[in-house]
């Protein structure tokens, strides 16, 4: 425990960070709440009027909202599933004695560090282009008609891009968790006659349960707001097929300039994120000793 003097100094040093974050949290949020109660369109300035909860009603009953909600759930759910279902075996593989393991690690981790706009465009053009893309060429080799991804299966395309970017994250987390597994526990199991599969099912998987939960929670928080990949490839379309909540709010705000509605939407997004955050903070808090 620090002495009196250091306590006083410490409080002072903490203030800027806390104050800034407080302002960052409260001011925009307060403004969003305020705007959400207005009928306010940037193309029609001066005509703002108070409409109470009507924006929410309008936003939540808008078929576009329901579509975007569905898209969001599909996107988040699919990416989570892919990254974990592929991440676990990948992590296990990287935990093995592999020659040149560091280079393989670098290859597996790289996609996470590529900026989203680059990832999206590389996939859209070089890989998924229906005429000159690599996948198109591979399909013709096996005699299958190449898929026009961004017209016929746009959501699937977006899912692929985002999953590619987040797979390294899941793999790295799970690999870290695997490497922290108690070796002696595994040796004891071996002395007790357990084979590799048994050890995996009864020791490794339970040990991974917690990191998998963490991966799910954190990925969900960040996946709810996937934006750049959609912005740069499909622009939310065709129609609404790849519009998630984040993109919907964006398009209402900066394409339709409907501030009121976009603000209402923004608050809905905040509420959803808060629910996830609540659970994540609980998990983090349990691990924290301050």
């Amino acid at each position: 425990m620090a002495t009196q003097q250091t306590q006083v100094l410490a409080r002072g040093l903490l203030t800027p960070a806390v104050a800034l974050l407080l302002v960052w949290m409260i001011v925009p949020l307060a403004m969003t709440i305020y705007f959400s109660s207005l009928h306010y369109n940037l193309l029609d300035p001066g005509s703002e009027s108070f409409v109470g909860l009507e924006n929410f009603r309008y936003f939540l009953t808008d078929p576009a909202f329901l579509a975007s909600l569905q898209n969001t759930l599909v996107l988040v759910g699919s990416v989570l599933t892919i990254t974990i279902v592929l991440g676990v075996p990948l992590a296990l593989l990287l935990d093995q004695p592999v020659l040149g393991r560091s280079i393989v690690r670098l290859m597996v981790i790289a996609p996470f560090f590529v900026m989203p706009t680059v990832s999206a465009l590389v996939w859209k053009n070089l890989l998924l282009h229906p005429v000159s893309g690599l996948l198109a060429w591979l399909s013709t080799l096996v005699g299958v008609t190449p898929i026009d991804w961004f017209n016929d299966a746009p959501m699937l395309a977006i899912i692929m891009i985002v999953a590619w970017q987040w797979l390294p994250f899941a793999t790295l987390i799970l690999l870290t968790a695997l490497q922290s597994q108690d070796e002696e526990q595994k040796e004891a199991a071996e002395m007790d006659g357990a084979g590799a599969l048994s050890t995996f099912i009864h020791l490794t998987l339970p040990h991974l349960a917690r990191p998998i939960t963490v991966v799910i929670l954190i990925e969900t928080i960040f996946l709810l707001t996937v934006f750049a990949e959609i912005f740069v490839t499909t622009g939310g379309g065709p129609g609404l097929q790849t519009t998630n909540i984040a993109f919907l709010i964006y398009s209402q705000a900066l394409i339709q300039y409907d501030v009121g509605s976009a603000s209402a939407g923004g608050l809905v997004a905040v509420v959803i994120a808060n629910i996830i955050a609540f659970f994540l903070v609980r998990v983090v808090g349990r691990n924290l000793e301050a």
């Binding site: 425990m1 002495t3 009196q4 003097q5």
Partner: protein, 334 residues
């Protein structure tokens, strides 16, 4: 000059009282050891003197001046930590010189003092090494060097030997005592090992649950323990305590007799019992005797005693060495 006095020192964390009303007078130049079981507050008391913790109440006087509101940097004390706490990014020379640098001494003076301290502790060949390149014993000496080079009013030691292996510990014990006598600086030393306490101290403070149980020389604590706790804590193996009829006979609630003062009496001439375990060390023999209603008694004999498990034996305490305690556990003096 390094006279330290504690007056009514009290330390609590919220509801928990860690130190309850400590009063001590530590003479300049003496080697005082704080000893006690885990959690008794000995390290806390040391840290209060150092200034690393604030007192809740009371005064701490160094050479007559109350330092309770003085930060540790300005108290003129040196501390040797249990983990040595060496600065990993500085060389041995840098570690030892740091305090002098903080005091603003001129470069030449720092260099000569560091050289002198290093010579005293046989660290001269290691001056340019980093702590991670040193062994445990060497790191410990650097920690001591860092403490002595500042010529403080007093040294504070927080269990400095507990991370060393047994042989090194014995050797360092002697070195620390020798050094302290040579420098004639007050030393306050915390340990949980009562053998260290007995061999190194001029006077010992026995602490229990935040209370000072007794403050006296090793021999005083051994021959005239003030209460049951001190009697049981000092001396290894522990003193034997007997309650009931034999105690009543001596007019006490409990009597105590050290294993080395329990004689093996001729048949029928003492407390009867059966040897449960006999340990033969050659130099000593330890007998653990089941004395029925009197409990398990430990006997220590010099040299070899030819008894084994299952043997019947009679034990008689040396009356001159019998300790008597009243029902509050306090010693009854003649």
């Amino acid at each position: 000059m390094g006279q330290i006095t504690l007056q009514g020192v009290h330390k609590s964390f919220g509801q928990l009282d860690i130190i309850k009303d400590a009063n001590l007078d530590i003479e300049d130049g003496s080697f005082v050891v704080f000893v006690g079981p885990s959690g008794c507050g000995k390290t806390t008391l040391l840290r209060l003197i150092a200034g690393l913790e604030d007192v809740t109440d009371g005064r701490i006087l160094i050479d007559g001046k109350n330092v309770v509101n003085v930060p540790p940097a300005k108290r003129g004390l040196s501390m040797v930590f249990q983990s040595y706490a060496l600065y990993p990014h500085m060389s041995v020379r840098g570690n030892i010189a740091f305090g002098l640098k903080m005091a603003g001494l001129p470069r030449a003076e720092i260099d000569s003092k560091v050289a002198a301290a290093a010579a005293t502790l046989n660290l001269t060949p290691y001056l340019d090494r980093k702590p991670r390149e040193l062994s445990g014993g060497q790191r410990q000496r650097v920690a001591i060097g860092r403490a002595i080079v500042r010529e403080p009013k007093a040294f504070l030691f927080d269990e400095p030997l507990s991370n060393l292996d047994a042989a090194l510990r014995v050797q360092m014990r002697m070195e620390v005592t020798r050094l302290q006598k040579q420098l004639a600086t007050t030393a306050v030393y915390v340990t949980h090992d009562q053998v260290e306490a007995m061999t190194m101290a001029d006077r010992i403070v026995v602490l229990n649950a935040g209370r000072v149980e007794q403050y006296g020389s090793p021999l005083e604590l051994y021959e005239r323990p003030a209460n049951l706790f001190v009697a049981g804590f000092i001396g290894s193996p522990k003193m034997n305590f007997v309650a009931g009829p034999p105690a009543d006979q001596h007019g006490a609630a409990t009597i105590g007799i050290r294993p080395e003062h329990l004689r093996i009496a001729p048949e029928g001439g003492g407390w009867p019992g059966t040897v449960s375990v006999a340990e033969h060390l050659g130099s000593d023999t330890f007998l653990y005797v089941d004395a029925g209603a009197l409990g398990l008694l430990t006997v220590r004999g010099i040299g070899e005693i030819h008894l084994k498990g299952g043997d019947r034996v009679w034990l008689s305490p040396d009356p001159a060495r019998l300790h008597r305690f009243d029902k509050e556990g306090m010693a009854i003096r003649q």
